[in-house]
Amino acid sequence: MNSPIGPGSTIYRFLILVIMASVIGAMVSLLAIAFIECVAWLNDILLISPRTRIQVQSPYLLTVATLLVPALGGLLVGWLLQRLSVAKRSLGPAESIRAVQLRSDLPDSRSGIVSTIAAMVSLGCGASVGQYGPMVYLGSIVGGLTAKLNFYIPNLQSIAIACGVSAAISTAFNAPIAGLIFAHEVILRHYSLQAFAPTTVAAATGYIVANIVFERPALFLVDFDGVSHGYEFGLFALLGVACAFLATGFMQLILYSARLAQITKIAPIWRPAIAGLLVGIVALSLPDVLGTGKEALRFATIEGAFENRELALLVIAKITLTALCVGFGFAGGVFSPSLLIGILFGALFWSILEVMGIPNAGVAVYAICGMMAMTSPVIGAPLTTILIVFELTRNYDLTIAAMVAVVFANLLAYRVFGRSLFDVQLAQKGIDLSFGRDRAMLESVRVIDRSTNQFTSLSSEATVENAIDNLVKDGRTEATIIDDQGRYQGMLRLQDILQCSRKSLVSTLMRGEWPQFDENTSVWLAMLTLDNFIGEAIPIVASNDDKLLGMITEANLIEAYLETVHELRREENAAV
C-alpha cells in the first residue's frame, strides 16, 4: 500500500517515533531498575529478604518483624490508595490494555504514581504480589505522558504506551524480544509496522540500559542438556493441561477474593492490612511465601530441594495468599506469583513422575514448563512466555518443551476461563475484548453521541392531516410521536397513513415493532438491530423516564461504524 503522506512527513514521523521510543525506553528502564532496587532495599531493611533475616541475631525481633511488617505495609498501602489516589485502587496492565484497545486515556497520572508507590510498598513489605504488573503500568504512564506532547502523528498514544511496556518487560526480564512481543501480544494486539519499529527500539534501549550500563545479571539461568525421551513431550502437554486448571482456579480465586472483600464490608482502607497480617502468620512457618520468592523460584529447579509435601503446601499457600493480597487491595501484579506457583507445581509434577518411576529429563525442564504454562494463561501471552524462556535460558530444547506446555495450557484456559485475568477483569467492567478489538471499540462508542435533532416529531394528539403536512414540509417519510411531556410514544410511517382518514389520531396508527435505543446503547448493539430494520432513523429514549433524547439515522449509524472500523484498520496497517 502506498503511503498517503509525503516524503517529508514520512521522515519527520520516522525520526520522531525513533527518538521518542529511545527516550521512553531509557526512562522506563531507569525507572524500572529504580523500582526493583527500591523494593530490594525495603526487603533488606524490613527483614523480608532471607539474606537479612538470617543475620538477625534475635529470634524475637524476627518474629515481630515477620508478623508486623506485611500488616503495617498493608495499612500504608490502604491509606495511600484510599486517601491519595483518585482511582482508589491499584492500576495495572488491564488499564494499559483498555487505553490502547479503546483509544481512551489512561487513568489520571496522580492515581498512576500513587499506585506505583503503593506497589513498591506492597512488595517491599513482603506482600504476596508481583512486581511486573506495576512495572508494566509504570511504562504505560511514561508512554502516556510522552504521547501528550502530540507530535501530530496518528496512533501516537498506543505506540507510546506500547513502547513503555516493552521497555519495562525488556528491563525486568533482561529479555528484549519478550518485551517487544509482550507489548504486541497483550497491549497492542496487532502488528503494524508503525508500532513495531518504535516498540523494538524501546525494548532494545531498555535492554542496553539494563545490561550494558548497569550490568544486571540475567534473571534465570538453567543448565539443561535436552529432552531424553520422545514421550516426554506428551508429559509436557499433560503438565500444560494441569497448569491450565491450576491457573483457572488461581484466577477464579482472585476474582472471588475481590468479591469476598466487598461482602465482608471491611472498609477498603483496612483490607490490605488484614491480608498482610495473614501473610505474616503463614510466613512464620513458611517464610518462602514472603514477597516474590526468588529464592524458592531457584530452588524449584534443583532436585530434592523441596519435599513433595512442601511443594504442595507452598503451591496452595502461594495461590491463596496471592489471591487474598490482590483481592484485598494490595498493589501489585500476578505475573511473578504465577511464575513461582507454576515452577513449584512443575517440580511437584516431576516428583510424581519420579514416584511412578517414569524415566525423564530431570526436574529443571518440568519446573520451567510448569512455570510458563501457569503464567501464560494468567497474562494471556503464550508467545511472550515462550520467548522469555528462550531469552533467559538461551536453550533451544528447553524452549521447545516449554512451548508445548504453554500452548496446551493456553488453549484450555482460554476455553474454560478467558484470554487472561486482565481481559476477564476488563469484561467485568463492560469491556469485552474476547470478540476482538472491533467489537470492544464499537461497544465503547455510544449512538447518542451520533444522534441528530433533525427529525419530524408530532404530538400524540396530532391528526393524520397534521402528520402528512409536516412530513411533506420536512421531506421525510417517518415521524416520531411524543406526548406532551416529551416522552416517546412510537413511530409513524407516511405510507401507513396515506389511506387513512385525515381526522384520525396518529397515536392509533403508530408502528408497533420499531426498534429503540437508550443513552447507553453502543454502536455495536445498534448495528445488530439494523439487521431486520427497514426505515430511516431509530429513536434514542431515556431509560429512566422514556423521554426522547434524539434520533439516530441509519446513515449516521453506518458512518459511525465505518469510521471506527476504518480507524482501527488504518492503525493496524500503518507504516509510519
Binding site: 532471607p50 538470617i54 543475620q55 541475631q57 529464592e295 530452588f299 534443583i302 530441594a305 523441596f306
Partner: protein, 364 residues
C-alpha cells in the same frame, strides 16, 4: 683546681654518654609483634615490608603465627598488629576485640589529600584497613589426572570422574559457596540462597558427596605440599601459596572457577590498651604503594592501593609479570565470588553449628 674541673667534666661527659646510649638502646629495643600467617606469605611480607621497615626505622619486628579466627586476639601474647581476614575483623570489631580508629587519618600525610580515593572501594572500616585482596581457590595437581582435567567447581564434588582425596580447611567457609555453585546456581544468588535453611541443607547434601574423600588442612602451606606429594589430587587453598609452589615438580593448576575473593586487613587488637606509635608507623609504611607493589611482585595478592598496580613488575625469580596472576585480573573475574563479609561475620555462629553437626554425623 683545674684538674678537678676537668675530671668533673670528664665524669659528666661519660655519664651523659652512658645515659644517652641507654636511651638509644631502649628505643632500639622496642619490638612490634605482628600476628600473621606464616609460610611463604610471611616470607614475602618479610622481604617486601618487614625488613625494609626495620632498616628504615630501627624498630624491631617479630611475628606470631596464626591461622585465622579470633583466637589470636585473646590470651596472653596478643600481637600489636594482626593481619586478618576481613570477615573475622568485622566480627572482632563488633565484639570489641579491636581498636576502633580513623585509618584514613592515620594514612593521610596532609589533611588536604583525599586518601580514600587512592584505595579500592570500602578499604576502610571502623577497626581495620584492607591491604590486599586474596582469593580462596580450588587447585589440582596436573599429574593426578592423566586424561580429562577438572574444569569447574562441579568437578571438585565429582569423586567418580575425578577420584582422589580433596584438601579442605576445616571451617564452614568457601566450601558452602562452592557446594551451591556446583548445583548451577548463579553467583549473584549464592548468598541469598545460603541464607535459607533450604540452601544450607542443599549445600551440606553436596558436601556429603565428599565424605571419606577429605583431608583437612590447617597450615595454609599444606595444600600445595600435599598436592606435590600426591596425598591430594585437588584442594582448596590460597591463590598466592599455590602460585608460589607451582614448579615442574609440582604442576599445580588453579581453577579460577568460583574463586572467592576476600581481603586481608591490618588491625590493632584491643587487648593492648594503647596502640604503640611505632605500630601506627608500621601501618603507614606497609600501606605505601611501593611496599604493596613489592609484596605483590613476590606473591600474587592484589594491592588495595590503586597506584601500586602501576608499580608492579615481574616475579624476582620466575620472571613473569605478576599483574596477570592477581585475583582481580580481568581474566579471573568471570566466575568470581566476592565474599559478603557482613553476611559472613553475622552468620559465623550459625555456619559453625551446621558444620559441626555435619562433622558429628561423619564420626558415627
Amino acid at each position: 683546681m683545674q684538674r678537678y674541673r676537668l675530671l668533673k667534666s670528664a665524669i659528666s661527659f661519660c655519664l651523659c654518654c652512658f645515659i644517652s646510649s641507654h636511651i638509644q638502646a631502649a628505643e632500639k629495643a622496642e619490638i612490634i609483634n605482628i600476628g600473621t600467617w606464616g609460610g611463604v606469605y610471611e616470607a614475602a611480607q618479610k622481604t617486601a615490608i618487614f625488613s625494609p621497615f626495620e632498616t628504615q626505622t630501627g624498630i624491631k619486628l617479630k611475628t606470631t603465627l596464626q591461622y585465622g579466627g579470633l583466637a589470636i586476639l585473646q590470651g596472653s601474647d596478643v600481637p600489636d598488629i594482626v593481619d586478618m581476614e576481613e570477615p573475622d575483623a568485622r566480627l572482632a570489631c563488633e565484639k570489641g576485640l579491636l581498636h576502633s580508629l580513623d585509618f584514613i587519618q592515620l594514612l593521610s600525610t596532609d589533611s588536604a589529600s583525599a586518601i580514600e580515593s587512592e584505595f579500592l572501594e570500602d578499604s576502610f572500616s571502623p577497626c581495620a584497613v584492607a591491604h590486599n585482596t586474596f582469593s580462596t581457590v580450588v587447585a589440582y595437581s596436573s599429574s593426578a589426572f592423566s586424561g580429562e582435567k577438572p574444569q569447574t567447581i562441579v568437578d571438585f564434588f565429582d569423586v567418580e570422574r575425578f577420584p582422589g582425596m580433596r584438601g579442605l580447611q576445616k571451617k564452614p567457609s568457601a566450601i558452602l559457596e562452592w557446594a551451591l555453585l556446583a548445583y548451577g546456581i548463579p553467583i549473584s544468588q549464592i548468598y541469598d540462597l545460603l541464607s535459607t535453611a533450604r540452601g544450607m541443607k542443599l549445600a551440606f547434601r553436596k558436601i556429603e558427596k565428599l565424605r571419606g574423600h577429605i583431608i583437612w588442612w590447617q597450615d595454609p602451606d599444606e595444600p600445595a605440599a600435599l598436592l606435590g606429594d600426591g596425598t591430594l589430587v585437588m584442594s582448596s587453598g590460597y591463590n598466592g601459596r599455590f602460585f608460589d609452589a607451582q614448579s615442574p615438580d609440582n604442576p599445580i593448576i588453579i581453577l579460577w572457577d568460583g574463586q572467592i575473593v576476600d581481603r586481608s586487613v591490618w588491625a590493632f587488637p584491643a587487648a593492648h590498651t594503647e596502640i604503640k606509635p611505632a605500630a601506627k608507623d608500621f601501618i603507614g609504611f606497609a600501606m605505601n604503594s611501593k611496599q604493596q607493589a613489592k609484596l605483590a611482585d613476590i606473591i600474587p595478592y592484589g594491592p588495595t592501593r590503586l597506584n601500586a598496580l602501576k608499580k608492579m613488575g615481574n616475579h624476582p625469580t620466575k620472571g613473569i609479570p605478576m599483574v596477570n596472576h592477581l585475583p582481580l585480573a580481568k581474566h579471573h573475574l568471570k566466575r568470581a565470588i566476592f565474599r559478603d563479609t557482613t553476611w559472613y561475620s553475622s552468620t559465623a555462629q550459625l555456619r559453625q553449628q551446621a558444620f559441626d553437626a555435619w562433622l558429628k554425623q561423619s564420626s558415627h
